[in-house]
Amino acid sequence: MAGSTLEIKDLHVEIEGKQILKGVNLTINGGEFHAVMGPNGTGKSTLASAIMGHPKYEITGGSIHLDGKDVLEMEVDERAQAGLFLAMQYPSEISGVTNSDFLRSSINSRREEGDEINLMKFIKEMDGNMDELEMDKNMAQRYLNEGFSGGEKKRNEILQLMMLKPEIAILDEIDSGLDIDALKVVSKGINKMRDEAFGCLIITHYQRLLDYITPDKVHVMMQGRVVKSGGPELAKRLEEEGYDWIKQELGIEDETVGQEA
């Protein structure tokens, strides 16, 4: 198997004392696209934030390993340098730092000192990717996410993904707030990343994103756990029938976190 492997075992996560994840197991190999689906409030975004190391989330049990290395022992920047990437649902706005300077610092942080990316090469690559994502060129010189519309922020996250070329990417609700044209553009960018080494975890509660990005595996989260896994046919069935049949099958009344069966 080419590429990296991200292995999540029995992950327990709290936010402000409230238990959100209650034992998540998930393995993503290079070359695979996984989708994590589920209604709102079931812990999907918490999973994404916990993997990347968001300061508000506390890991209370379980483990995350990337190619055998303990991710939970790493600082946030070390996780990125090891090859993880999270396209965020709500990216921060940072005034005074241009998009382009930020991207260049990010790329260089994964390279050795003295081996910084060539400026012309960087500009060419960024221009190409911005064309691909149908982004206005002046966005390179605008301050990072400042005053960007919802759709512009999402495109900007995917631009970073394309520029940074991580081993494993997590896309947290990258489809929310996008109209159908924007969704197609963003999907095109993500699909371009697909190769035998790149692994991707797509978090969404709409099936429609999966019309454009076909996952190899689909997982359903409820009550802070993965309750069902399957192939692309699982996503199709969810689109047609919703989540109720799973709840019935498993005897779940309320799928949100904090409600026990």
Binding site: M52, G53, H54, P55, E75, V76, D77, R79, A80, Q81, F85, L86, M88, P91, S92, I94, S95, G96, V97, D101, F102, S105, S106, S109, R110, Y143, Q160, L164
Partner: protein, 436 residues
């Protein structure tokens, strides 16, 4: 001459001799002597929430000569770094201690009637013009003891005069280099932009006195006549030993614009006032200042815009970074006078704290005496946002570098507005030095 008490030993005789030695016009000698006579009776300035009674305003040397230079290459590297020395036709004055070391103005601007010269040359060559604006519309001699002492002891500065409808594309630049560690700078900057003219002026203050104490007492007056446009940039970087009182005052007439971009990077105790009077209808002022406080430094910054004319627009932005045990007060004041209808006063004060011991207060004040106006303010004091750091770090940027990016970004509004690339880079370097 060095003095040891808060009571200054400069008497009438000293001041008039100082003036006569420079062949100043009689009005100036009189102004100095009158100011000195008033000084003792006037109160010290009272900056809100900062006690300055123990600060040194009296121990300093009043006169210090500096060497002149015949070419910019003779300057040490640290001064050269403020300049684009390759450039031909420099519009540049370098003041070294109290000597004009270098002075140059392009022939083109001379032909158009532009004056850019040190204040003493201006007093002898353009006496009437200077007299008309010198402490008459901007800062008054009798505002407080320090403004009176400034008037009495003025020992440096420049005069900029832009005739009607002359538009100067290239920025003009002054460098005030206090090479003598004990030399005080009573510097006076007078910028007069006649109707319809436009000018960009940038200045740098530099000193190295870590242990030696001295004083900087600076008055800047910018007069923008109808429809004139003045863009004023500064990087103040006095060392730890200098106590600074700096007054930068603008007067904008009808449809005039004054833009301030002030990098206030002193390492010593500082009181800074930046006030703009929007006198004429349609006048506009934009006052942006950034600062970094460190060590035991105490600073007090007031940015104030007073609206007299109708349909005037004032925007204040103050951003400060406080580290170690530094303490700073930021007063933002928007004042709309009765009759200044349709005016708009906006302000934003933000302080970023990098240590538990640092102190920062942002005091937004709106004083409005007219109904038909708009006004707004935003103020915050806080730490670097951990979620912002998380976002930057999630792309592989180490924490230290992420903090650096956030801080530089926070101070960017002034850095980006400085019109000379070398000065911009200098300010970035100073920020880098002060923050890390």
């Amino acid at each position: 001459m060095t003095v040891e008490t808060q009571q200054l030993p400069f008497d009438k005789q000293y001041v008039s001799q100082f003036s006569e030695k420079r062949n100043e016009p009689k009005w100036m000698t009189d102004l100095r002597v009158n100011a000195l006579e008033q000084a003792d009776a006037l109160p010290m300035p009272k900056p809100d929430k900062t006690k300055i009674d123990k600060w040194n305003f009296s121990r300093f040397k009043h006169e210090a000569q500096g060497q002149t230079i015949s070419s910019l290459e003779e300057l040490p590297q640290k001064i050269q770094s403020f300049l684009d020395i390759e450039k031909k036709d420099q519009n540049l004055v370098i003041q070294r201690n109290h000597t004009v070391a270098y002075s140059s103005l392009s022939q083109d601007l001379k032909d158009k009637g532009v004056v850019f010269t040190d204040i003493f040359t201006a007093l002898s060559e353009h006496s009437e013009l200077v007299q008309k604006y010198y402490m008459t519309d901007g800062v008054m001699v009798d505002e407080n003891r320090l403004t009176a002492l400034h008037a009495a002891l003025m020992n440096g500065g420049v005069f900029v005069y832009v005739p009607k409808n002359v538009v100067i594309e290239e920025p003009i630049q002054s460098i005030f280099w206090q090479e003598d560690d004990e030399a005080a700078l009573y510097n006076h900057i007078l910028v007069v932009a006649e109707e319809g003219s436009s000018v960009t002026y940038v200045e740098n203050y530099i000193s190295d006195n870590e242990a030696e104490e001295t004083v900087a007492n600076i008055v800047t007056e910018v007069i923008a006549k109808g429809n004139a446009k003045v863009s004023f940039g500064a990087v103040d970087n006095f060392a730890k030993g200098t106590t600074t009182y700096v007054n930068r005052r603008g007067v904008a007439e009808r449809d005039a614009q004054i833009q301030w971009a002030l990098g206030q990077m002193n390492d010593g105790n500082t009181v800074s006032e930046n006030v703009t009077y929007l006198m004429g209808d349609g006048a506009h002022a934009n006052a942006k200042t950034v600062t970094v406080g460190r060590g035991e430094q105490k600073q007090n910054f007031t940015a104030k815009i007073v609206h007299y004319g109708k349909d005037t627009d004032g925007y204040i932005l103050q951003h400060g970074v406080m580290k170690e045990s530094a303490s700073s007060i930021f007063n933002g004041i928007g004042k709309i006078e009765n009759g200044a209808s349709k005016s708009n006063a906006e302000q934003e004060s933000r302080v970023l704290m990098l240590s538990d011991k640092a102190r920062g207060d942002a005091n937004p004040i709106l004083l409005i005496e007219e109904d038909d106006v708009t006004a707004g303010h935003a103020a915050s004091v806080g730490r670097v946002d951990p979620v912002q750091l998380y976002y930057l770090m999630s792309r592989g940027i180490p924490q230290h570098e992420a903090e650096r990016l956030v801080i530089h970004g926070f101070l960017a509004p002034v850095v980006n507005q400085l019109p000379i690339e070398a000065v911009k880079n200098q300010l970035r370097d100073v920020i880098e030095r002060k923050v890390y």
